[in-house]
């Protein structure tokens, strides 16, 4: 399953990294505490968070996430988009809550 599949199935809006939607999604992680995400997430995870500032990009790069989904319609800061574009990390937005989007992703990953 790749990021493009998630975008299509879940109606996510792509804010950057549209050319990197072929990245493989091997799992997911939900969290807004960066240290928790650093400790707990895995390479290939799609990260669900409400944090929209630029520091999320470094976390995703270090952990080799397949993408970041911002919840409840949060829009990424200008700097976040800039950085994510440079690093080739897809930045996606949903109107759904973290709980709802994580549940749907889980359902797609574990049908």
């Amino acid at each position: 399953m790749n990021v493009a599949f998630l975008v299509e199935k879940l109606g996510l809006k792509v804010r950057c990294g549209g050319d990197r939607l072929d990245r493989e999604v091997s799992g997911g992680y939900a969290g807004d505490l960066l240290s928790n995400v650093m400790a707990g997430s895995k390479s290939g995870d799609v990260w669900v968070t409400c944090q929209a500032h630029q520091n999320i990009v470094a976390v995703s790069v270090l952990k080799e996430h397949s993408g970041i989904i911002l919840t409840q319609g949060r829009e990424p800061d200008k700097e976040t988009i800039q950085r994510a574009s440079q690093e080739g990390i897809p930045l996606l937005v949903t109107e759904l809550s973290g709980f709802e989007i994580a549940g749907r992703i889980y359902g797609l990953l574990h049908p």
Binding site: L33, S35, A39, N55, V61, L62
Partner: protein
């Protein structure tokens, strides 16, 4: 800055916009040297958390990386307020971070705990009013 596998990176306090800069570089360096992914991930996390600590609490500091045949040695030194009670600071969930830091998702009281978890040997010393020194050893 570079002599063999020795590197020193400066880190400035309050520069949240730069958080992760050093760890991303270190990860690339370790990858180039041929350090296995599982090992370099631990080094990257330890340095990331150290960077964030300097940025959050200190005036400035340095992150040094030395790679030997057997170990990855990371040395973190900062000039800052220091830590009064190291035992307490090591407790998961304990943090002195202000609201601004917490609002960004930092300051959850997990940083030092994460660093220790990623280390094979972890040593920390601190002097109030002067700064903090971390010595992190990770086996290759």
């Amino acid at each position: 800055m570079t002599q063999g596998h020795n590197y020193v990176f400066p880190v400035e306090g309050e520069r949240f916009d730069e958080a992760g800069k050093v760890s991303v570089q270190v990860k690339q360096i370790l990858k180039k040297i041929g350090i296995p992914d599982a090992v370099l991930r631990r080094a990257a996390i330890a340095i990331y958390e150290s960077e964030v600590n300097i940025i959050s609490y200190a005036i400035h500091g340095t992150a040094s990386l030395q790679v030997t045949d057997d170990h990855i040695l990371i040395d973190i030194q900062d000039v800052g307020p220091g830590i009064t009670d190291i035992e307490q600071a090591m407790e998961q969930g304990y943090s002195t971070a202000n609201d601004h830091i917490r609002a960004m998702g930092f300051g959850a009281g997990m940083g030092l705990f994460n660093i220790k978890n990623c280390s094979d040997i972890f040593e920390m010393s601190s002097e109030e009013g002067k700064g903090t020194h971390l010595k992190i050893t990770i086996n290759r």
